[in-house]
């Protein structure tokens, strides 16, 4: 299963960001969320959802192999991270995150909090391998 973004459904409310931070960090802090909503205003007047699609680019560049694929999800092994931050640069969707209060970068773990919270089904689970966006 993959997270799939249906951009046209998004209304920019960012409930997904709140839910992500609440679920993973128990903090009311959308800046910690490992997905992004970008508003394209005034034109063309739409939203774009940036999600982790588990592409593995972060793992590929990690010099110490601190990011490993486990059950279809790339996870950061904090104890092995050397804080070079190359994974942040490598993430094509800009959702590999860093925060000064954290010792290692963090990323989406497919917890599904965003899917559950989205009131407009703009983020859904999908079996499709090819098309992750609509």
């Amino acid at each position: 299963m993959q997270l799939k973004a249906i951009h046209d459904n998004c209304s920019g409310c960012r409930t997904c960001l709140l839910a992500c931070a609440m679920e993973n960090f128990r903090q009311v802090r959308p800046s910690l969320a490992v997905l992004r909503i970008e508003g394209l205003f005034p034109a063309p007047g739409s939203y774009r959802i940036e999600l982790c699609d588990q592409c593995g680019a972060c793992a590929e560049v990690c010099p110490v192999e601190a990011i490993q694929l486990e059950d279809g999800v790339y996870r950061v092994r904090e104890e092995e991270c050397i804080q070079c931050w190359e994974c942040l640069e490598a993430c094509p969707n800009g959702v590999m995150r860093f925060h000064p209060a954290m010792e290692a970068p963090f990323k989406c773990t497919h917890c599904g909090a965003c899917v559950q919270a989205c009131p407009r089904s703009a983020i859904v689970w999908s079996d499709e391998k090819e098309s992750l966006e609509v």
């Binding site: 609440m22 009311v28 919270a117």
Partner: protein
């Protein structure tokens, strides 16, 4: 510890360019809760009695609520307040979007702006880093264009509030704009920004909000999003948003049309919510954490130009589609866009333009004063007048002061065409035959505004049905009998306590008012987030206290404040409705006195509408009673 709150208040003295952070006082927070409560008390305490709204001593307060920014439906709201340049009384306005949560994540529950800058400036808040910047290069810029420019300059993750040229030129109904289409529109709060030379506010907040019971709040938050999805209005009301009520309001003869000459628009199906979906919509646009986005973002293409715009909402439809008789939703949306860019409140804007069009039609405004021929239903005429107002050119200089002051200046009998209460223009519900709703307007604490109380549905159906249910039931369009005026006071009072309570908490009322989302959710979430046990009934008592406080502020500031301040405009009690279901109906002054007598008695105010000492003491405002008595006995210079 104050859970739920950010914990600090940011004080900005523009005269001395001084920035100060102070802890949020716990006793103050517990008593006034947040948002509108904070705004009301700060204004009463900090604005010296008799202050000119344009004096440096006037302040502007922006206050979030304890639930702002938290994980629950519609937590994106924040409140603004000032001594209103439109009315000279208590003035406030509410804004959605994302700016309130951003301020809290940056660490501040409230922003207090004092003094006045000597040159255009901007306030930039980047978490703990706060600075005043020179904004001379941005002065004169249009609101939405400036927001785009600032996002490009500062970063997408900054939330921006701007004012447009109208506020710079002290148009008394200038707004603050945010998020490419959200406004704090009423009572001229943008005007006070313009007077203080504050061109924009930019906030980036990345911090955390403390929560008393994080696990419980997460679970209750999840449940509230789930529960709201089960409401019929979730799929029924949401698609058209506030514009969905257009048909209902028209069919029950309450749609302001042709400067309130009538209350029924023949062309309502050309300007309703369905027309938005068919002719404008690009995306549904929601405020922070909102599951029922009422914002409709689209593109309007007209013969005179095209624009991307959020809206129009119902109020804009009523005031420009009905009151100025613009024939199509594209025209209404295009005017909406121009108002947003110039920084004009679309409600007062539509009321003022409608007033000007009728004055011109009746020869009360000359061709020379107007600068060209204008007429109802003509897009070019409306755009022309809006530009005159924003620049204060020709007759626009008088119109920029709102219909009350403009009529005083124009004279020639134009007072009869000026539809307002206390200097604030009437909004989208005509009520010559809806006495409950009439009383809502007459006694709203900022002037003629619908958002403090709304009982039109009850006037028509006699029930407390939510708005979605009213829309579903519809209106027949049939001729309506004369309504009974007695027994409406308690309806209005209950609504005046219920609706503003959401402005105190920092949440959007539409979840409840439009869809029937239960108040018990807020009771539970308030407890889990703040750790304070407060029943909804207790919260409503706080809302009642705030109502007396805002009234006391206005009584203090207007030395001849009295019953006459609550009278309806001449048109609504002298000119019967011309067409539609309420044709021929009018409200008499005898009926107005019945409404006010019942209301004052139920409120615990004297026959002049002044809160009595006993009432103020009963709600915990003994100090306010003492101050009020002193000012009324000795004047401002006591």
């Amino acid at each position: 510890m104050l859970y739920g709150y950010a914990g600090q208040v940011l004080w900005i003295d523009l005269s001395r360019r001084k920035i100060e952070k102070r802890p949020l006082d716990e006793g103050f927070a517990r008593k006034y809760i947040g948002g509108r409560g904070f705004v009301a008390r700060m204004l009463f305490d900090l604005v010296p009695p008799g202050t000119d709204p344009y004096a440096p001593e006037n302040i502007m307060v922006m206050a979030t609520g304890p639930l702002s920014g938290h994980f629950l439906p519609g937590s994106g709201k924040t409140h603004f307040g000032t001594k209103s340049p439109a009315t000279g009384m208590y003035g406030d306005g509410n804004m959605g979007g994302h700016i309130g949560p951003a301020l809290k994540y940056a660490g501040y529950d409230m922003l207090v702006i004092t003094g006045k800058a000597d040159a255009p400036c901007a306030l930039v808040i980047d978490d703990e880093a706060v600075e005043l910047r020179d904004a001379s290069g941005h002065w004169g810029k249009w609101s939405l264009k400036l927001e785009r420019e600032l996002k490009d300059e500062l970063g997408e993750d900054f939330e921006i509030c701007t004012i447009g040229p109208a506020a710079e030129n002290l148009v008394r109904f200038a707004c603050i704009s945010h998020d490419f289409g959200r406004q704090c529109g009423r009572t001229g709060i943008g005007t006070v920004w313009g007077d203080k030379k504050l061109k924009y506010l930019a906030v980036r907040g990345t911090g955390n909000l403390s929560v008393f019971d994080p696990e419980g709040a997460l679970e209750a938050g999840r449940r509230s999003y789930s529960d709201i999805k089960d409401k019929p209005g979730f799929t029924g009301w949401q698609p058209e948003g506030t514009a969905g009520i257009t048909n209902f309001v028209n069919q029950v003869g309450a749609f302001p049309t042709r400067n309130f000459q009538t209350s029924f628009a023949e062309h309502h199906e050309q300007i309703n919510g369905k027309a938005i979906l068919e002719k404008l919509l690009i995306t549904h646009k929601g405020c922070f954490a909102c599951p029922i986005p009422c914002g409709k973002y689209g593109k309007a293409v007209t013969e005179l130009g095209e624009a991307y715009v959020e809206g129009p909402e119902f109020e804009t439809i009523s005031m420009f589609g009905g009151n100025c008789v613009l024939p199509s939703i594209e025209d209404v949306a295009y005017v909406n866009w121009l108002c947003d860019e110039l920084g004009l409140d679309t409600i007062s804007g539509g009321a003022v333009v409608g007033f000007a069009l009728e004055c011109f039609e009746r020869g009360m405004i000359s061709l020379e004063e107007m600068g060209r021929e204008v007429s109802f239903g003509d897009l070019e005429s409306v755009l022309h007048i809006l530009h005159l107002i924003a620049k204060r050119e020709k007759i626009g200089d008088a119109l920029a002061d709102g219909v009350k002051l403009a009529a005083e200046r124009i004279g020639r009998g134009s007072e009869r065409l000026a539809v307002h209460v206390k200097g604030l223009e009437w909004t989208g519900y005509e009520c010559r035959n809806a006495p409950g709703m009439m009383l809502c307007y007459l006694t709203a604490d900022v002037g003629a505004h619908h958002n403090r109380a709304w009982v039109l549905g009850k006037d028509v159906t006699g029930t407390d049905a939510d708005v979605h249910s009213l829309i579903q039931a519809g209106g027949s369009g049939d001729r309506l009998p004369k309504s009974e005026v007695r027994g409406k006071a308690q309806w209005v009072i209950d609504s005046q306590h219920l609706r503003p309570m959401f402005d105190v908490l920092g949440t959007c009322r539409l979840q409840m008012m439009e869809l029937g989302f239960e108040v018990e959710h807020y009771e539970e979430l308030f407890s889990l987030i703040t750790g304070q046990e407060k029943s909804w009934e207790e919260m409503i008592r706080v809302s009642e206290m705030i109502w007396h406080l805002t009234r006391a502020f206005s009584v203090r500031e207007v030395l001849n404040f009295g019953r006459h301040m609550d009278y309806p405009p001449q048109r609504l009690c002298q000119d019967p409705v011309k067409t539609g279901p309420n044709q021929g109906h009018c409200i008499s002054m005898d009926e107005v006195h019945i409404l006010l007598d019942e209301y004052y008695l139920a409120r615990g105010w004297d026959e002049n509408g002044v809160p009595t000492r006993e009432t103020l003491e009963r709600v915990g405002l003994a100090d306010v009673a003492a101050e009020l008595e002193a000012v009324r006995a000795h004047g401002f210079s006591r």
